[in-house]
């Protein structure tokens, strides 16, 4: 009798990938286990998953959001400890950190991929207007100015309607260069730095300058609008995450390149956000725990890493295998790992555990910075007050 495993996921986008590549590969090597990938829409995923887990009707395998969302599931006993899996050794501690208890004693999800922030640009537009790929912030704004002058392209494709773009592709994209990646992030967690410190406020000041280069009515521009603006060739630069690569490849009919977040002065160490984004864990109440563990172990294998990374360029494997990727844009992104220091998004670990929620606050703050409705300093103060209201190390 075959065992059927059901995977809960928010990755609607990957449905065909799972059905056509990953599952057949797994089933071929593991007779007797069938796998069903049943994604739900990303916005509802957390709510749906929690309800199902509470009622005991959730699938065997659960796709894990990074940090607290999954930690809460583990704490509530919904996720099983998977530290013991053989292939967990294929992941570095950093890779696993997003799905570990605070003390690191238990790991409850097998890491799948991370995403890297940066900027994707329209190579043809750069050639046409005669702009060099910027390395420093000055060059970056000079390039934007040039596009603005030229007028045939919107310099930057970003909108504030959906809010998270501004925070994720704006603040957390350029920020690590200011707060020096992990150094700043950890200091903030420890309470040694405050959000009112300049390295946390300065990115807002920079963001504020972006508004001049955004399209008309960017206030109502949604995330898909931004994507479309760029892929239809109407914008020159797109503040991006590497996850865009697949879609952009399919949609844009011009050549694209990528550059990493510009540093303040030439020669500065560069920092990139190489964000642990997705993992997969075991429903503690699964009736097919053994088969599920087999599957999870397979997720830690090189075979999986290769299939996944190549099928979804832009989702970079977190395993220590050297996965060969074919996509040039993806290669460009992943090459930064060698040049710069990696960090993850500043708000994700620990700092968004309370109310107000620092991540969500950062969304609003980034929008406000861009729109210029509040000064960077005020924003820093607001965020700091909010964080301090519940986070002891910051009190």
């Amino acid at each position: 009798e075959d065992v059927t495993l059901t995977i809960e996921s928010w990755r609607n986008d990957d449905l065909t990938l799972w059905q056509d590549k990953i599952i057949p590969a797994f089933e071929a090597s593991h007779p007797g286990i069938k796998v069903k990938f049943t994604p739900s829409a990303p916005a509802e995923y957390n709510a749906v998953l929690n309800s199902k887990l509470d009622a005991g009707s959730a699938g065997d395998l659960i796709t894990c959001r990074p940090f607290d969302a999954s930690l809460a599931l583990y704490d509530a006993g919904h996720l099983a400890d998977v530290s013991g899996l053989e292939n967990m050794s294929n992941f570095s501690d950093v890779a696993k950190s997003a799905w570990q208890t605070d003390d690191g004693s238990a790991t409850f999800c097998v890491p799948m991929a991370s995403v890297i922030h940066g900027f994707i640009y329209n190579k043809e537009a750069f050639e046409e207007v005669g702009v060099e790929v910027p390395q420093t912030e000055t060059e970056f704004f000079a390039a934007l100015d040039k596009f603005k002058e030229d007028g045939s392209y919107i310099p930057l494709a970003m909108g504030t309607n959906d809010q998270w773009e501004a925070a994720t592709m704006g603040y957390n994209n350029i920020g690590p260069n200011y707060w020096k990646g992990e150094e700043g992030r950890l200091a903030l967690i420890k309470g040694e730095q405050k959000l009112t410190d300049d390295q946390w406020v300065a990115p807002y000041r920079t963001l504020a300058k972006w508004s001049d280069y955004l399209g008309d009515g960017y206030e109502a521009q949604t995330y898909p609008d931004s994507q479309n603006l760029f892929t239809l060739g109407r914008a020159a630069i797109y503040p991006a995450g590497s996850w865009e690569i697949t879609g952009f490849n399919a949609q844009a009919d011009f050549e694209m390149g990528a550059f990493k977040p510009p540093v303040q002065n030439e020669g500065d160490t560069c920092y990139i956000s190489d964000h642990t984004d997705i993992a997969i864990g075991l429903n503690a109440k699964s009736e097919n725990a053994d088969a599920a563990k087999t599957f999870l172990n397979w997720v830690g294998s090189e075979e999986f890493a290769t299939i996944y990374a190549n099928a979804l360029p832009g989702f970079f494997s977190l395993s220590s295998f050297d996965v060969a990727m074919e996509d040039p844009l993806a290669q460009e992104f992943v090459s930064w790992r060698g040049e710069c220091e990696s960090t993850i998004r500043s708000t994700y670990q620990i700092l968004s555990r309370g109310t107000p929620n620092l991540e969500n606050e950062t969304w609003g703050a980034s929008v406000a910075a861009i729109k210029g409705t509040k000064s960077a300093e005020d924003l820093g103060k607001e965020l700091q007050d909010g964080l301090a209201s519940w986070y002891e190390p910051q009190q």
Binding site: A43, N161, Y218, D225, N228, N357
Partner: protein, 304 residues
Amino acid sequence: MKSPRIKSHVIVFLAPAVLVYTAIMIFPLFNTLRLALYTEADQVRMFVGLENFRTLFGDPRWSESFWNALANNFWFFVIHMLVQNPIGIALAAILSHPRLRFAAFYRSAIFVPTILSFVIVGFAWKLILSPIWGIAPDLLSAVGLKSLFAPWLGKEEYALTTLALISVWQFVGIPMMLIYAALLSIPEEVLEAGEVDGITGMAAFWKIKLPLILPSIGIISILTFVGNFNAFDLIYTAQGALAGPDFSTDILGTFMYRTFFGFQLQLGDPHMGSAIATAMFGIILVGVCIYLFGIQTRLKRYQF
């Protein structure tokens, strides 16, 4: 209107509805609302009485959001009352004109938006109102009003009103249908008597039809009230759970949803969520009670 003893047929008539409704609606809902009296710390559920409400109304971080959502909700409701219901009544009045040609077509056409899912409505209006893709700006400039254009959904000062109007657009079919049904039940001869009396057109509407459909208008008002204070989907699909820009479109529904189920990194807090839901419930209950005991009993009904 028989004698006041509960007879067996009354029970038979009520039983199926009451049973299904109690088991599947009331029981789960109150089970959930009960959570408002608890909180959870370290996986342990503790009874805290009204503590959550104290937080909700006492802690400025919560209360500000709450009052903001409530105020927005009121505005949302006001727009529906001022725009949706009058338009719905007007359309129904026009449509109910006997033998109006193409009435069935108009009626169906006007009802189409109500049938659409929120995803479509959100997409269509975002596309139309988008400053980027140019439908609204082009249409406005075609009539020489380009200067009036603004990225309405993105501006704090317009976003809520814009969404309310979209919601009006979507739901105008409902008051229309109800009023239409009510207008149709007015006996033809009464209207004819009015016609012979010289009470035609607007006068017939104000003096004869309107008084006779007042109970239906009452129903519509209370349904609008309940619907608006429970609204959630449109805002959620158009502006996301954070009801941007800067919470300017946050209404009780989105606030509750965000709190109850969590959002992004924010974990769901069923306890605070239930507290908000209870507060919403209280607000709506007061409204419905005012209607049921204050208005409905006073509205004169006429049997035709």
